[in-house]
Amino acid sequence: MSKTNISRRRLLTTAAALGGGAVFFGPWKHNRVYAAGTDKPIKIGITSDASGQYANSGASDRRGMGMAIAEFNDKGGVLGRKIETVHIDTETTPATGSRVAERMITREDAGFLIGAVSSGVANAISQVAQKYGVIYLNTNSSSPTESGKNCHRVKFVWDGNGSNFAQAAVKNAIEAYGDKWMLLTNDYGWGHDTANATKKLLAKYGGSVEDEILVPQGTRDFSSALLKLQQASPNVVAAAVGGDDQKAMRQQVAQLGMGQAPAWINNQQDWPDVYGLPIENLFGVFGTTWYYNLDLPGVDDFVKRYQAMYTDTKMRVPGNVFYNGYMATKNLLQAIERAGTTNNIAVIKQLEGHKMSAEERMQHHDAYIDPATHQVQQTIYLATANTGTKDSDDMFKILSNSAPEDVQDLGAQDSCKLESYEETATFDA
């Protein structure tokens, strides 16, 4: 049996070291409280893609956040504190998303994170954000899993998802075009989730799935799939193909003149992906959450503010990606004001269940943040190509709008298990 002698000096040194360490390495919430000062700017980490396949949408997303932040800073900031931002490119890569989120929180001292277009990146960021209790706004990724099985207490999802768009489209499309459907599905999470939502709705409303063509991610040649579609001649093709794959597909469908027959039901069409392209490249029916030419109060002014602020961008009018970036940021800053504190749990409680009027949202119906899934329940628009216009910006013709309760993703409520408040680290940003 060995005997250990500890001298008084050693004991005091060890205690001092442990005490000092606790200040810097102790429970996270305490560190963050010490770091925050009432006159210190609120720091927001912008986690959007500046390279990779969503670079262009990422830029649009950032512009939306930038306009909201500029408007708040112009009136003195939030709670008397200016808002600062730091942006690091998430490269449309989940691994980079994790790394960026970790760095934003631990080294850049960001109190909030905003931005995503890719669901994979958003999921990666939100896992890190949840670990530290940092509120994260997923502005623009539309996989149902983001507010379903991958939901988190700190994450709020601002875009409509594949299930919302499918619900807005499927029943009407069966009635208008027929019940013989084929699915063209990107062979990864978002594609399968969206296709599954469509299949459930087809079963519910009496449609049939003749075949499903799985398209691997990274497909650039769709000729085999399009030949197969011709041979099967369905009434409707429901395409859940995203990103660059979708751009290549659209180009090839347009070249074949297959945009009109069969009828195409596409998922959401992000504005930056189509802006400036020939109108023939837009085909079928697709979803969106907002359009710059909606005849609603506030829209014109919003467009003018965008044009005044972003004089050098080639995109002369804002689209859905910009809109989501703007709305998410604005609502976060308003939630901080309502909470009267930057404490993350207090702000989360302000966001959960928060109602937003149609006027405030510049949409046709009131919206709210579902407290069970943290997804914004909002108006879903169906649109098609506006072929009759001479205005090259006015590319969409809005066909219909659906109220949030008619297109709600009920599956998300079953699969989303939010962490409790107690499980979520707390701090003041």
């Binding site: 390279s51 990779g52 396949q53 670079a55 262009n56 830029a59 062979d187 063509i213 799985l214 398209v215 691997p216 990274g218 497909t219 650039r220 040649d221 000729s223 085999s224 799939a225 030949l227 197969k228 011709q230 041979q231 660059d244 751009k247 290549a248 659209r250 180009q251 090839q252 070249q255 074949l256 003149g257 297959m258 930056p272 992906d273 189509v274 802006y275 400036g276 392209l277 020939p278 490249n281 080639k314 995109m315």
Partner: protein, 306 residues
Amino acid sequence: MIQLLPHIFNGLTLGLLFALIALGFTLIVGVMEVINLAHGSLFALGAYFALTLIGVDPIADTAVGRWWLDQAIEIRYLTALVFAPLLAGLVGMILEICLRPTYGKAPLYGLLLTFGAALVIEEAIRVVWGSGEQYLQIPPAINGATIFLGTIFSKYKFFAAAFSALAVIGVWLFLEKTKYGAIIKAGAHDSEMVRALGYDLTKLRLFVFGFGAALAGLAGIIMVPIWGLRPHVGIDVVIPAFLIIALGGVGSFEGAIVASLLVGLAVGITGAYASAWSMMSMYILLILVLGFRARGLFGKASALEN
């Protein structure tokens, strides 16, 4: 079988397009033993040069620009088809000059340099042309659809496949039937001997790299009306090109062409019957071939094998 025929035909046209993509890549690897990871960026650059030559920013608002836009699209397209690859070739020559210090050193240096060049070119494209999706105009005569084998095919795909076949034949004739082609092939086989015979190896390398880059640019112009045009479009090119030269046998022109057609057929037919495996099929093909014949279909046996 009737159902399969359009897919076989589609696979062959796809194979010809792959051949065009791999052409410049195989030339540079074969002659210079440099794996040019900037091949995809040069592919994209060629398409962006064509975009400007056909008539969008920055020349559109000038008097010259307006005059140019008044010309028929056919003239502008043909001009772009000639001059845009030349511009990409010039960029390739600059890259070759940068590569010179790496000759004779470990291949990693060349790989790293061309990888860096790929990033620089892609970023330069973003700065000059923006990060958004662009559309390369094509003449109406080659746009639209046509019926063949009872199925709708894209006229442009026919044009692209025919153009690729002509480009392949043209490069083959150049390599096989001209003195310059003979020097290039000799350079690939034994560069020291070529130097000893009095040929300037430095100029030869400069020309080959420029020629390979121009072919990459040409492939870009032909492919982007099918794939779409965005700054990172070149990323989609490097892996199939690399796979094709490994499959065909490094340095073998014939091997690259046969491998391209095989890959096209594999992707086209798998796409019809097991679409989820269409991309994977080319990798399975590579594994199968290299498993039995490590040097590829037409690769020369190494000294160790003899």
